[in-house]
Amino acid sequence: MLLTVSGISAESEIQKLLTSAHIEEWLQQDLFQIKWWLLLGLTIFAFLLWWRLLAKRRLPEVILYAVLIMIVMMGVDEYGEELPLWDYPIDILPIFPVITATNLLILPLAFSLVYQNFSTWISFARITILVAALVSFVIEPGMAWGGYYQLLNWKYYYSFPVYIVVALFIRWTVIKIFGIAERAKKHTG
């Protein structure tokens, strides 16, 4: 089985086994169970709350921030799943579970609101530390306790600096993008 058979590598075989195990576990243990509904409800609620709190006037800028942080966190989260450093035992969808993982959703939503409401580096950094602490030391242990999150080769306090660095880096990126646009506009009149 581990040999290359007709151009399809062993890797593809294991990928198939993994996907069918994901789908099977999901059908048997996750789908339509209370915890699954709870996760779905929480996700929709978080999303609606975010939309209510958004300053619609600054929508392009704040969504740009959310999108960039989402891309970085998708990368980080999928790395964590593949290595595997952590696991999400309950999935809304069984394929590419990362996109429906709650902490993936919470981070862009929370940090984009922080970005919107705190416009100096000092105030932004302070609140970022606070939010990162809240997510790493309250929300994630809470999710682990509820069975939504499982640490394998990871500690809660590893996440803490990662979240802070990502949030600061993306703020720097967005400011840079808008700065370049401003200068280009002045340049061309």
Binding site: S12, R57, L59, L152
Partner: protein, 186 residues
């Protein structure tokens, strides 16, 4: 519930990752095709930066970011469902992150967004681009062994490429319209 420790899926995941890293070390990293892919990535980023209208940078990057997210999701679905495969990876973990798709799609799409300002011209450009992608680039990539179709046909991608571009254009325009209307109300 996996309270009892580690689920079957997790076991397969551990195996799969170990195997990917192994294959990558033996067959991909520092080989010619690996360098080629890396070069292509760098070149397309450079070219994009030359061509992008800096005055509209936030808008174009927003379009590109949304395209990246959607491409990543579709690519990862394709890999997990074994619809296609990228035999050469710049990096062995989370392959779609460095797949050839991601080096080209978001950048080309966002430039089309920048250059074609009406729905009509944008749609035409999208159809032409999707045709080139599905029927020229993908067969070429397959020939070069960067891409492998498992349970997929080239023309399946065609409507997806078009729908994706139109959807994202609609989202970006809606975001800007909401912002403008709110501004006007003040």
């Amino acid at each position: 519930m996996p309270d009892s420790g580690i689920s079957a899926a997790l076991q397969f995941q551990i195996q799969l990752t170990a195997m990917r890293i192994d294959q990558w070390l033996q067959e991909d990293v520092f080989h010619f095709r690996w360098w080629f892919l890396l070069g292509l990535f760098s070149f397309s980023i450079y070219l994009w930066w030359k061509l992008v209208d800096k005055r509209r940078l936030p808008e174009v990057i927003l379009f590109m970011g949304l395209t990246t997210i959607l491409t990543l999701i579709l690519d990862e679905y394709g890999e997990e469902l074994s619809l296609w495969d990228y035999p050469i990876d710049i990096f062995p973990i989370f392959p779609p992150m460095t797949a050839i798709d991601l080096a080209s799609l978001p950048m080309i799409y966002s430039l089309i967004y920048q250059y074609f300002g009406t729905w009509k011209s944008f749609s035409w450009a999208t159809v032409i681009m999707a045709t080139i992608f599905c029927f020229v680039l993908e067969p070429l990539l397959m020939w070069g062994d960067f891409y492998q179709l498992l349970k997929w046909k080239y023309y399946y991608g065609f409507p997806i490429y078009i729908a994706m571009a139109l959807l994202i254009r609609w989202i970006v325009i809606t975001i800007y319209t909401i912002a403008r209307k709110t501004e006007e109300k003040r």
